[in-house]
């Protein structure tokens, strides 16, 4: 049995706890959180050992693995402490807010030969996996562009402050939502060379972003664009979707289906045909041993446990791969802060008196049209 502790009992931590405790190869040794009330309830009704201090947990329990689902700003030190004790680590996303710290930890985990995984669950979703398989097989030829989107109803009005409302602690649409489609872009396309046109806007939040847009540039002129908004009530829950264009067709994918248009200029993969093909999650998804909220959440933890148990080294969602996403997010923050934009192309304005140029800057094209009308 793999001895596991779950650290951080917020929404994700509790969800991981429920799933991992039901795993046939896992002995859930303890849970750890600072909320005493939650600990008391779990102790009383489920008999699990509880800790309110992480270091005490590490000192007192002999663990094979920890699942860390605390606020993102605490991931770094907690992951380090576990690795130093030779404990395998599953960490919630985003991995590390400090990219340099993330690099060190990825190297540390690698050098110690420990299983290290980050909770980018879409890589365990059958439709996104099918897309990866199709891209690797060249089903839509050479990919030229990806449009990655995620929308959902998280922040719909100004709210009181928690860690999720502060970017400094890992809160915000970029870290919480955009991280997922960015991670999928990394999976399909690798790491971009640069980013541009990044918009990190506030809609309702005071200290973090609610919408994220931007362009990612890849070698050879390939590009990806990202459009994410977590203040969109028209979505019932988080929806992540990608459109991928290639020289041989297009793929549309979300967690429920994979729609593929294949042109006749490429080798068609087995089971597919030229023109439109649709694969649904119902046929693509392998069965899991226990289901709470989506197969992918169960699959990623099952994979983590199997990697430990079977000494598997391929490590999907390794720290190193999650670090790529952290790096892209850091680049996007820098880009949005630098805010270099090209101004309007206005050759006509040059012959206008300077007052008109100034008005044009203030009021845009309409004032110029108005000016022209008067002149006529």
């Amino acid at each position: 049995m793999i001895k596991v502790a779950v650290v951080g009992l917020g929404k994700m931590g509790l969800s991981h706890l429920s799933i991992i405790k039901a795993h046939p190869d896992v002995s859930l040794v303890a849970v750890c959180d600072t909320a005493k009330y939650v600990l008391d309830l779990l102790e009383k009704y489920t008999g699990v050992a509880v800790y309110s201090d992480y270091d005490t947990l590490l000192q007192q329990e002999a663990l094979d693995a920890v699942i860390i689902a605390t606020p993102s700003s605490s991931h770094g030190p907690m992951v380090r402490a576990a690795l130093q004790r030779n404990i395998n680590v599953f960490c919630e996303k985003p991995f590390c807010l400090d990219v340099d710290e993330g690099k060190e930890l990825a190297q540390l985990a690698q050098s110690k030969g420990l299983v290290n995984q980050v909770g980018y669950h879409y890589r365990f979703d059958a439709a996104f996996q099918e897309t990866k398989r199709l891209l690797d097989a060249g089903a839509i030829g050479e990919v030229t562009h990806i449009l990655a989107e995620a929308y959902g109803p998280v922040i719909l009005q100004p709210k009181g402050a928690t860690w999720r409302t502060r970017r400094s602690e890992g809160g915000g649409c970029l870290y919480d939502y955009a991280a997922h489609p960015l991670n999928l872009i990394n999976w399909y396309f690798g790491r971009p060379e640069s980013v541009g046109g990044t918009v990190l806007n506030q809609i309702f939040s005071q200290e973090t972003d609610d919408e994220v847009y931007g362009t990612l540039y890849f070698p050879g002129g390939k590009s990806a664009q990202i459009s994410v908004n977590w203040s969109d009530e028209s979505y019932r829950r988080m929806t992540t979707k990608l459109n991928i264009w290639g020289t041989g067709g297009r793929i549309y994918v979300d967690r429920q289906e994979c729609q593929v248009y294949i042109r006749d200029n490429v080798a068609v993969p087995a089971g597919y045909e030229p023109g439109w093909n649709v694969r649904y999650t119902t046929e693509l998804t392998p069965e899991v041993w226990f289901y709470v909220r989506g197969e992918e959440y169960s699959s990623q933890l099952d994979y983590f446990i199997r990697c430990i148990k079977e000494g598997r080294k391929e490590n999907v969602n390794s720290f190193a791969s999650a670090l790529e996403t952290d790096q892209v997010m850091a680049m996007m923050i820098t880009d949005s802060e630098q805010g270099r934009h090209v101004g309007e192309y206005t050759p006509v304005v040059r012959s206008e008196p300077s007052i008109m140029r100034w008005l044009h800057r203030l009021f845009g094209k309409r004032i110029m049209d108005f000016h022209k009308k008067i002149k006529k």
Partner: protein, 299 residues
């Protein structure tokens, strides 16, 4: 005895396990409650009398309508499924577990609520809080027939994973005592849940689970489900029989009707044709199955 055919509500709230596009189209179509009522009326006209529904805010409007037109809905009954998980999940992200619970407790100081809630919070007992939350969710059904009350699958399976089994007993007892109703449990992990309910002494439970020919979301495996249906004492309701459209209707329903002991089948549809076809198919295949069954038994 439950009706053989129950009508579900996923289609009204933009839930479709296969396609986001279809889900959105449905959400647009059923924006007005009147559109939902029209479909319920079609189902009623086809002889369906049970509406199995989440405690979504909009169901309250359906309840008002049925209450206001008792003659039109004779024999019509609701099977409430609680809680509507999304509102709690969102509240938990913002307010933590305890904060979320507090938010949904009745706002004003009913003496009963204070007593049950206050004492329960202080002693860290779930009974008081849980029963208060059940009562809050049941408010919209006041005066309507609710012979079976369900525990929603996300919560059932979450607690099942945690090993928080006492909660199932608290729910079952409260539903029986306060509402004279049978407790039901929706799950994606039927064999495991049966064990847990046995342990806490919930006997002969009503269990609504995915039961379909392709084993879609049947954790523990198709074989374990078939064995449980044969050997264990419980009252199964089959849902996701068509696996969101992955299996052709006749083939799908034939499979379920040939399984032993299935008491009811729940399905959701929005068009008259689909509702009629599914209801007729279930009736027809149920009749064939029971004839074969009787013939076998008399041999």
């Amino acid at each position: 005895m439950m009706d053989r055919v129950l009508f579900g509500d996923n289609q009204f709230f933009g839930i479709n396990h296969m396609s986001e596009e279809k889900a959105r189209a449905q959400a647009i179509r059923f924006k007005d409650t009147q559109a939902v009522i029209e479909v319920l009326d079609i189902a009623y006209a086809e002889g369906i009398r049970t509406f199995m529904c989440t405690t979504h805010d909009r169901i309250a409007e359906i309840c008002d309508h049925v209450r206001a037109n008792p003659r039109h809905y004779q024999g019509f009954q609701f099977y409430p499924c609680m809680p509507y998980a999304h509102k709690y999940a969102n509240a938990m992200t913002d307010h933590g577990m305890l904060g979320a619970v507090k938010r949904f407790l009745p706002e004003q100081g009913l003496f009963d609520a204070m007593l049950r809630g206050g004492a329960s919070l202080a002693k860290k007992e779930v009974d008081g809080i849980a029963t208060l939350l059940i009562d809050a969710e049941m408010k919209m059904f006041a005066g309507l027939s609710t012979p079976v009350i369900f525990f929603q699958n996300v919560l059932t399976d979450f607690l099942l994973g945690l090993g928080f089994k006492a909660a199932f007993r608290v729910f079952a007892d409260h539903v029986k005592e306060r509402y004279g109703a049978e407790p039901g449990f929706i799950t994606m992990n039927m064999p495991k849940l049966l064990d847990a309910l046995d342990e806490v002494g919930v006997e002969n439970p009503i269990i609504c689970a995915n039961i379909n020919k392709i084993g879609f979301r049947m954790c523990g495996g198709l074989a374990a489900y078939e064995q449980a249906l044969k050997e264990r004492r419980f009252r199964p309701i089959a849902m996701s029989v068509l696996a969101s459209g992955a299996i052709p209707p006749r083939e799908a329903i034939e499979y379920v009707c040939n399984l032993p002991n299935i008491e009811s089948i729940v399905f959701g549809a929005s068009g008259r044709g689909n509702i009629r076809q599914t209801k007729l198919l279930i009736d027809e295949l149920t009749a064939i199955h029971s004839m074969t069954h009787t013939a076998k038994a008399s041999k």
